[in-house]
Structures are given as C-alpha cells and as structure tokens.
Symmetry: C2
Subunit: 415 residues, 2 copies
C-alpha cells in the first residue's frame, strides 16, 4: 500500500509549528509495512487543499490527513475531502452527545459551530476522540483509502495507535512484525558497512539502518500469514545483528537509553543521582521525562560554577584549581559527591565545554562523563565535534552518561 | 514571490528525522515577505524527485530544496534539479580546493566521490559552506528561482542566513521589516479576539498571531522602499499591541523567556539558582541551552524525593509531612533553600504532579512554582490541563518560572 501524508495548517507552512506528526506517523506506517512516498503540507486554503487531494489520489492508495477537523471556520479538511471523493456528510448523534457532555463538564459555553465536528463522510469508520473533541475517521472511495486525524500530536498519535492502526491492519491478509535494534557508540556508516550485503539483498525479512543524534537504529521487518511466523522470520536476523555488534547494542524494542536504564535500575531497586555541569539539567530532564522515573531518581546537583561544585558536591578546591573544572578528576569527584549528597546507589556526572566559548585550555567539545557506584568510579573522556553545535555536545554528553549506566548495570566495561 | 520548500531524504519520509528545516525556513522566508504555500518531502528517489520538481515549478516562483547535496550515491538533488531546468553542471576549482584542504586537515581519506560536491549548475551563485562540506547555490531558469541547501540543520540554517537571505533580499526593490511580539500568560484565542478587526483589515503593516507550547507570538510585518520606512510603519502597531496586552508582553524581537531573563540578569550582574522537583532539570537545561548562561547561572538542586528536598535544600521535614511535597510552602522553602545553598541572588523552584500518576490528594497538573530573592518569596499555583500530557505540564512549569523571574526583574507583580 502506497501512502501520502497530507498535513493541513497555515501554522505548519509558516514554521510556527513543526510537522512532527509526519515523522511520527511515518514511523508508525512503516512499521505496518505501508510505503510512505510523499509528505505534503498545505495551509488552510480550500483551493490548494483540493489541488493537493487531486494530486495525492493519482499516486497513493492511502491518504493520511492531519489537521483541520476542529470547530472553527478554517477547519475545512473534512469538507474538502468529502467533496473531492463525492461523499455527503452525515450527522453522528452519539458524537454530538459526547461533545455536549464534554462542554457541560468543563462549564464552557458551546457555540453552535462545535457540532460541526459531529458531521463525518458517509460510510466512514468513526475514530472517537478520547484525547480531545474532534472525531477522526477512515473511508474508502474509488479505490483510495482516506484517514482523517486531528492536528494536535497529543490527539493525532494516540488516535492513530488506538483506532487507525487496527483499521489498517484489518485491511491486509498478511501480518507484519518489526524489531528495532538500538545501538550506541558506533556510527551509522560503520554499521552500514558491516551489513551492506544483507541490507541490499534481503527482502523478507528486510534490514535497514537509521541514525539520529549520535545513535543508530536497525530495523528488521518481516511479513507472514501470522504474527508468530513473521516473528520467527525476524529472529535469526535480530540474533545475527546483536551478536555482530555486541556491546554496542543496548536493546531491542526499547524506547531510549534512559528508558532502558530506568527499567534496569527499577528491577534491582537501585537509585540514581546526577551531578551536571555543562549539561545544566539535561541528564535529569531526560531521565525524568520517562514516566515512572520517581521510583529510581532521587535527585542531583546542577553545579555550573566551581564554588557550587565544591559547596554542593564537595569537589576539593585544590583539585578544581590544579586540574581545572574540565578534567577527569573533577568528573569523578562530582559523581562521588552526588552519590554521597543525595544518598543514591549510583551517580553520573558531566563536565566539559559545550561552546561557543572555550576555557583556553581544552578545545570546545571536550567532555568528561563520570559514574560512581559502591564498587568504584569510572570516567569517560569525550572529544565531541563542536562544529555540530552546543545542543549536540550537550545531548551526546547526556547520552554517554546513560550509556555508562547501562554498561555498568549489564556487566560490561564502563569506560 | 510564491515559494515551495522541497525536502529530499528517505529518512524524512520514514520519520527517522523530523523535517525541522521546513519550519525554520518557513519562518525565515515569511520574515522576508515570501509566501510559502507548499512543503513537499520525497525520498532519495530520482523519479519521484523529478515529479516533485515538475509539480513545484507549475505553482512556485521560488523552489527551496534541502538535502541530497552530499558525496554519496543517493545524493541526487543537484543532478535532478540541473537536469529538470536544462542546466549543465560546472566544476568549481575553488570549492574542490576547499574540500581537499578540509579532508587533509582532518586526516580523513578523500574518496573520489567527495569532489562530486564541487560540481554546480552553470550560472549558479555559489553558497560556500562554512559549516560542513557541500556548497549550496542559487540559480534562475525559465522564470523560476531555485535554491539548493544542505540537509543537516546546522549547515542549512546558517547558510540560509549568511548566503540565501541576502540573495533573496537583493531580488526585491522593497524592503520588509517584521517585528515579533512575544506574549505569555494569555491564550491565543483571547489575543485573537482582542485584535480580530486589525488582523482582518490591516494589509501594510499586517498583524498575525501564532501559538506554541503555552505562548503566543504576534507578528507585525510592513513593506516599504527603505528599511527605515518599513520600520516606521510597524512602530504604531507594535506600540498598540504592547500597550493593549500590557504585562503579558514579555518582549519584542527576543528569542525566548529564558533568553530574556538571561539578558536582564546579566545586565544587572545578578546570579541564578534552581530547585527542581517535577521538572527534573528542565528549568536548568533550558536556561543553560542559551549561549552565555554561565555568566548568570551558578547551579541548582534536583530534588525529586522528599529526603533530598530536606538534605540539599533544607526544606523542613515537618513542612513536608504536614503540607505535602506539592504545596505552596514547599515551593517557597525550595527556592529559599536553593538561593542559600548555591549562593545566588535569585532562585526559582517547581514542585508538582506531571502525571500520569497523582499523589492521591492533588489532581495531576497541580504545580507550585516559587521565586526567592533578597526581598521576599513568591509562589504561583498552577492548575494545568493534564490531558495534554506529562511533557507539556513540565514545559509550562518551567515557562512559569522564567515568567516569574522576568516579572520580578521588570518590577511587575510576580505571582
């Protein structure tokens, strides 16, 4: 099935909103075995939306539309799509009841245009919106399938997972299984070189690599009549990749390094502390972005200046003076100090130069990342490419802290 | 001038990379007075790229392409665009010299395909790449202007600003000036209601609103023969909007709340500390993401659990027991404790429930944000909409901390 993702919204065109839905839906559609060949964005403009639909139906069997389902005058996606495919709109009394209850519960005045949202193309499968108000839907016309989803990501993505994905799966006699192998500490080009032959020749399962912010992901995808058969096809490839890449593989079908570390620590009842200089809170922010972090994370210290490294973490003043804040010794003392001050089983630290300014001694991109545990302290010395910018130096520093934790927790060499 | 942004890259289609360039270029093009009506994404596929170019030239005077300028076999943007517009590629010896020097300096082996990057369409204005290797360019053919820019945002955006923006400005006899009024603490629909008449009727200058993550931005844009004349046209509208919205306006042409707070504090030689519970480091991470933060930010404490609130910040155990960690009293004690422990002039704190789990007493979305200074302590009680997710509750908590700081620093009521 060939798909075009068609996003509607002037805020996307003008750059006030990033079209993250297109990426997040792209990932989900790919994992269902659907080929996404085009993304298109148009504004809240009837003529250009009509043109985009006319164009999309010439080249896609499936058009996934996002945005423009709400109650205001510029929400025109549903009307234009219904018109383009010769469908009348039908009023759904149950959706109208839901909308009335929604507004009553929140004591908001319900203007008549709110009920616009209860009109949907005839014959559509309704996707009830448990995360907002406007229902989505799927319909079929003249050989083309159309999905209409709301624009806000916190409505669009849960609706896709709960309603659209099962609908799309039901259209295919085959089942698709996809496994994601997550890799840290080796570049995409090196990974590609190792598996080039498999990537070019294998069809079912297929193997592909993707790079993002210093990490690599390999996806193994297989189709078969049943889920068990598709999973069995994936298995030997997943095994081969994980064996070949060894300790660089941090997980299969896990969300992120920090989610993996949280799960490992929670299982063992271990607690975590942080001591951050150049990352300024990013390690803590990423870890606590994972729901359930409070079972493991106790706290930490942001020690941007030297006095605070000494006062909050007990980093000796003479070490700071002799070795400098960007040093192996200070990273170690910060991690040990955080472990002690917070009273945690493990602590990680990061000190370095994110840029644009340096310290006159070390080049920008020099970072020391520490890990302290009951059985020792380890420090990794990173030489990051500063030309990629301050944000990436900080991100990579935080990722290395999580990588050291997962290596420690799985019995691998930490540094 | 009507524009289409055409991004090339399979990683975008599949969702492994978010097309942030489209948004960032959309903002920049709009500020130059160029109408962006379409964003299109295609993969590294010659046939579909040809189709996309054929389509774009029927509806745009300006096609801005991103991605596919590098040295590998799937970097085909330049070749397809040159072919589509009947241009030969010309070898640029100076760009080749730069590439040779670039690889020599880094002791990387230079494979022959690297020099592919020195071939550019005949007659093109070359955009030398100071942020990577592949040069970009602009050319004109049959009434259409084409810009070719690299895919990585840390190359694409600086090249746009340094090379493409001056090129585009030189095409127009008129000068465009755009002012951005940044607003916090009032919703987009309320702002729209106030200025609906102006937004619908004014043409030069024009006024528009945009919402993002709990903030609103109003843009005033004017065209005139000179920059001074365009700026003078904007001035009364900027004044009217800022006067009408009063204290909700936090700045005109500033980057963000945190960048404004950094600038205000730096000017006065003030220092900052943080005390974070539910935000887990996000306040510090956002503040230290602004270059130059080290002049103001000294450090802070991440106090996720009650014991650490007590140990690191001296929050009294009886206050924690009687009032609970999510309380006005604890937010105040955290901010005061951070100010003391870090030795800073001002400190902000946040404690609350980001979800999904609650504490059995307060609803998810309950947050207390504190500010402590030499002359007092203030606490804001937020009741955030938890249905929008954990990430937005944390973002809004951090934004409120920065908003309290800017109100304190500008003599406005803080709470």
């Amino acid at each position: 099935m060939n798909c075009e993702i068609l996003a509607v919204g002037t805020e996307l065109l003008l750059g006030h909103t990033v079209n993250t839905n297109a990426a997040d839906l792209g990932l989900r559609l790919a994992s269902l075995g659907i080929n996404v060949f085009w993304h298109t964005v148009v504004g809240d403009n009837p003529g250009r939306l009509r043109e985009a639909v006319a164009q999309a139906r010439t080249r896609a069997d499936l058009i996934v539309c996002t945005g423009g389902l709400g109650p205001t005058y510029d929400d025109l996606t549903k009307n234009i799509l219904a018109e383009s495919f010769g469908k009348k709109l039908v009023f759904h009394e149950d959706e109208a009841d839901f909308l009335r209850a929604f507004y009553a519960k929140r004591s908001r005045p319900m203007t008549p245009n709110v009920l616009q949202q209860a009109w949907l193309p005839e014959g559509a499968v309704v996707f009830h919106n448990d995360w907002g108000t406007a229902p989505g839907c799927a319909f079929e016309a003249e050989g083309t399938r159309v999905l209409l989803l709301p624009g806000p990501p916190y409505e669009c993505l849960p609706m896709f997972d709960a309603c659209a994905a099962p609908y799309l799966r039901s259209l295919s006699a085959e089942t698709l299984v996809s496994r994601q192998i997550r890799v840290f500490g080796i570049g995409e080009s090196a990974v590609e070189q190792i598996f080039r032959a498999e990537m070019e020749t294998m069809k079912n399962p297929s193997l592909a690599t993707y790079a993002k912010e210093g990490e690599v992901m390999l996806r193994v995808t297989a189709k078969a009549a049943t889920e068990a058969e598709a999973a069995a096809l994936c298995e030997p490839v997943v095994r081969k990749v994980t064996e070949t890449l060894g300790a660089h593989v941090y997980g299969v079908d896990v969300d992120s390094l920090e989610a993996l570390v949280l799960a490992l620590m929670k299982d063992r009842g271990l607690t975590l502390a942080t001591a951050e200089s150049l990352t300024g809170g990013l390690i803590g922010a990423r870890f606590t972005a994972v729901p359930g972090a409070s079972a493991v994370f106790r706290g930490g210290a942001l020690t941007y200046c030297d006095e605070v490294k000494h006062a909050m973490l007990g980093v000796p003043a003479d070490v700071l003076a002799e070795k400098g804040a960007v040093s192996r010794e200070v990273a170690a003392a910060m991690a040990e100090g955080a472990r002690r001050a917070v009273g945690a089983d493990l602590a990680v630290s990061a000190t370095g130069l994110a840029g644009p300014d340096g310290d006159g001694v070390n080049p920008v991109g020099t970072v020391f990342v520490g890990l302290a545990g009951p059985d020792g302290t380890w420090v990794r010395h990173l030489r990051l490419d500063a030309s990629r910018g301050r944000a990436l130096v900080r991100t990579m520093s935080a990722s290395n802290a999580f990588d050291m934790l997962r290596r420690y927790l799985t019995g691998l060499p930490v540094e």
